[in-house]
């Protein structure tokens, strides 16, 4: 009984998700494919670009990167400059998880109090 209900609910979520994904595939343009973008031109003239009609955030970031941040690695520029606050948050997640693991896995005091029993 429980298994039937579980399978049914998973099936509902799967069907709705596939429907949504199929709709997105048909109707929504790709986030950024860069097919009309010339990298060599941008590298030679980093200050000449046109952002007046972008088709997403990625378009603006790729064109503005060389002039505004002067970093050759665009991914590092996005991670540390455009969205640097999120990277800060991610490193805090790592620190919290490690501190939490230390708290959860410490069992020394239990052994002290119980006189060394396992």
């Amino acid at each position: 009984m429980k298994r039937t209900i579980t399978l049914m609910s998973l099936l509902i979520i799967l069907v709705c998700g596939v429907f949504a994904g199929r709709f997105a595939y048909d109707n929504i343009p790709v986030t950024y494919d860069g097919s009309s973008f010339n990298v060599v031109d941008l590298y030679n003239n980093p200050t000449v670009y046109d952002t007046s009609n972008p088709d997403g955030v990625a378009d603006v970031i790729v064109k503005e990167n060389l002039e505004k941040t002067m970093a050759a690695n665009n991914v590092a520029a996005v991670v540390f400059d455009f969205r640097g606050f999120d990277t800060l948050g991610e490193s805090f997640i790592l620190l919290t998880a490690i501190a939490g693991s230390f708290v959860i896995l410490s069992r020394g005091h239990k052994k002290e109090e119980k006189g060394g029993e396992a």
Binding site: I5, I13, I28, T51, F85, D86, E90, A99, I104
Partner: protein, 637 residues
């Protein structure tokens, strides 16, 4: 300069956490100083924002790294603090400051205190960052920090039994909620090509609701539902609140719940703006009503103090979700007011439970009794909290619950739908059962006979009493001076939640909201009936003092203190119909034995569902998500 204050508050909390980890593992004085310094500075910085945001009505918009929008696309992360964010930020900051003061003496005998304060500061900083951000992915990152810090703090006292198991359950269900939220955010990014809340709101109004965005809405609502513990996502809450240290339980029920509620308000009212459709309103109101009822019926059968308070916390959040789901200005006002009051009185109740645990070493209702003679100050604070949660005038619980009843009834009359009338009746019945449950707890813990082994309990130290006094005073004041609270806190917050045009214009530049066509909704300050709180307060105080003198002053006529090993005397079996009980008094946790027997079938089903197995709880989460997704897809066109 004032626009830097929010980021500085959040970053100083995190920096304080790192300083505690570097310097504070050996020396206790440095650790306490750094913690209280960071918490106090954050409190002052957030309270300094009341004047520009709440009173003058401006919205603070702040771009990280000065990345302002280019050609109408927001390329950076933005913080946007309007009145709704500041309302929740004030609650968050007050709660964790009081919890910090409380834990200075409550946690004094534990090990690994350096890690405790680090995790406590990370939790506080993450919730503060969550309510103030204007970017969906940043909100998700803060939700993740909050989840991990909560899991670690739940499993903090891992020498007790069942602690690690509660932490494990919290981790599994919390991770499922985070995954749902992340999938929803990814779908939204695919549709709108941007991650800024204001821009998403503007684009969704132009394009309408496509199947992709409906799926994203369902998943994000499920994700934030897990964080705010609606039934059936409520299952880790009972265990986690029970085993965590009490200063952290107070933060869980006061701050972490409200972060989930804030997320739902943001998503439903501002980003997607679906709350004017009656089907969505019905879905959320039904979830809230079920939460209210199941929470309070499970609470009537508990034998343990903190677990009972946890179920009551779930039930009160049901009130808030019901009020928010109504979609009207009165509903939103009452929901926000009840959220604020819930933080205050539930925090107070948890602090008194912690004081009882600290003084006596147990929270089992069968083993406690008669503590009002030994700990009078704690008793008074507990009674104020119990009266507030039950909804007695003139405390703040009465005002907010009255507004909730008024909101649901007005909605029933306006829309002519019978379901809302049933929801009003359910809300009233739940309030009565809350009062019953707290009569049971008061009799079991504070009045009645004092067992022999608790004869030498002392009152708790001053660092634990000061937060209790402050919260009791706030409970009483918010109930009496309700119009002031409404004018300065609730009316700007409701206004900000219902008028999205200001939000979008401030963030993306004026005139961006031209494609919206949404006019500003005029929010009247909630009309409250002819009721004079001062008269009620004087009457209440007079009766209360008289009752207190009578109860605690007279000699108890029930005989001597109970000695262990005394023979059971069957002449006290009046309330138990012959069933053997340990104490010869109307006490313990079986006061409503008749009620439990009448509803035996219901309780058998309910307690069978709360089986304690993690896989069952995960299955409930999936089933609820499927229900939400199905309802959204069928009814959203």
């Amino acid at each position: 300069m004032i626009q830097h204050f929010p980021v500085l508050a959040v970053m100083l909390l995190f920096l304080g956490a790192f300083c505690v980890e570097i310097f504070g593992s050996k020396n206790e004085g440095i650790r306490n100083t750094i913690t209280m310094l960071a918490a106090t500075i954050a409190l002052v910085l957030i309270y300094a924002l009341i004047k520009p945001v709440m009173i003058d009505g401006e919205i603070i918009s702040y771009w990280m790294g000065n990345w302002a929008p280019v050609s109408g696309y927001a390329i950076g992360i933005g913080y946007e603090i309007d009145a709704l964010s500041l309302f929740f930020a004030l609650l968050v900051v007050t709660t964790f400051w009081l919890s910090g003061v409380y834990s200075l003496s409550y946690m004094a005998n534990d090990h690994h205190l350096g890690h405790y304060y680090t995790l406590y500061l990370m939790l506080s900083g993450s919730v503060l960052g969550l309510v103030m951000t204007g970017d969906v992915f940043n909100m998700f990152v803060m939700v993740e920090i909050m989840t991990f810090a909560s899991v670690a703090l739940t499993a903090f006292r891992n020498e007790n039994e069942g602690t690690l198991e509660a932490g494990f359950k919290y981790l599994v269900i919390g991770s499922m909620g985070s995954s749902f939220t992340l999938t929803g955010i990814a779908l939204i990014y695919g549709q709108c090509h941007t991650l800024n809340m204001a821009q998403i709101s503007a684009q969704l109004s132009c394009g309408g609701l496509t199947p992709t965005t409906v799926m994203a809405l369902a998943l994000i609502v499920a994700g934030f539902g897990v964080k705010s513990y609606i039934v059936p996502f409520h299952t880790p809450a009972a265990d986690a609140y029970m085993v965590a240290p009490t200063s952290i339980s107070m933060i869980f029920s006061g701050m972490v719940n409200k972060a989930g509620v804030y997320g739902m308000i943001r998503v439903l009212y501002i980003i997607f703006r679906v709350m004017d459709q009656s089907n969505v309103q019905m879905l959320i109101v039904l979830f809230g009503a079920v939460t209210m009822f199941i929470g309070v019926t499970m609470a009537l059968t508990q034998h343990e103090f903190k677990r009972l308070l946890a179920f009551h916390s779930i039930s009160q959040i049901g009130y808030v979700i019901t009020a928010i789901g109504l979609g009207s200005a009165l509903g939103l006002t009452s929901g926000l007011f009840h959220a604020m009051n819930h933080t205050l009185f539930k925090g107070l109740l948890f602090l008194t439970a912690g004081a009882v645990l600290y003084a006596t070493g147990t929270t089992n209702l069968d083993k406690l009794g008669g503590l009002s003679k030994r700990m009078p100050k704690t008793t008074i604070c507990f009674l104020i909290g119990a009266f507030s949660i039950s909804g007695l005038p003139p405390f703040n619980g009465f005002v907010s619950k009255w507004l909730v009843y008024q909101a649901t009834y007005t909605k029933a009359v306006e829309s002519g739908n019978f379901v809302y009338a049933i929801v009003t009746v359910v809300a009233l019945v739940v309030s009565v059962m809350t009062l019953a449950s707290f009569i049971k707890v008061t009799q079991a813990v504070f009045f009645g006979q004092l067992p022999a082994e608790l004869k030498k309990t002392k009152e708790v130290p001053a660092a634990m009493l000061v937060p209790m006094y402050i919260m009791s005073a706030l409970c009483v004041l918010c109930g009496i001076f309700y119009p002031i609270v409404n004018k300065y806190l609730l009316y700007p917050a409701t206004n900000a939640a219902l008028n999205v045009t200001n939000y979008i214009d401030k963030m993306m530049g004026d005139g961006y909201a031209a494609g919206l066509g949404v006019s500003n909704i005029e929010v009247a300050p909630a009309a409250f009936s002819f009721w004079n709180p001062i008269v009620w307060l004087i009457l209440f105080v007079v009766i209360f003092i008289a009752a207190f003198i009578v109860i605690t002053g007279s000699k108890s006529s029930r005989g001597q203190l109970l000695q262990p090993g005394v023979k059971y005397d069957p002449k006290y079996a009046t309330f138990f119909s012959g069933e053997e009980e340990l104490f010869s008094q109307v006490g313990g946790s079986d006061l409503f034995w008749g009620f439990k027997t009448d509803w035996k079938g219901y309780y058998r089903v309910l307690e069978g569902l709360h089986s304690g197995i993690v896989t069952d709880y995960a299955v409930f989460t999936v089933i609820a998500t499927a229900i939400i997704t199905l309802c959204m897809f069928i009814f959203m066109r």
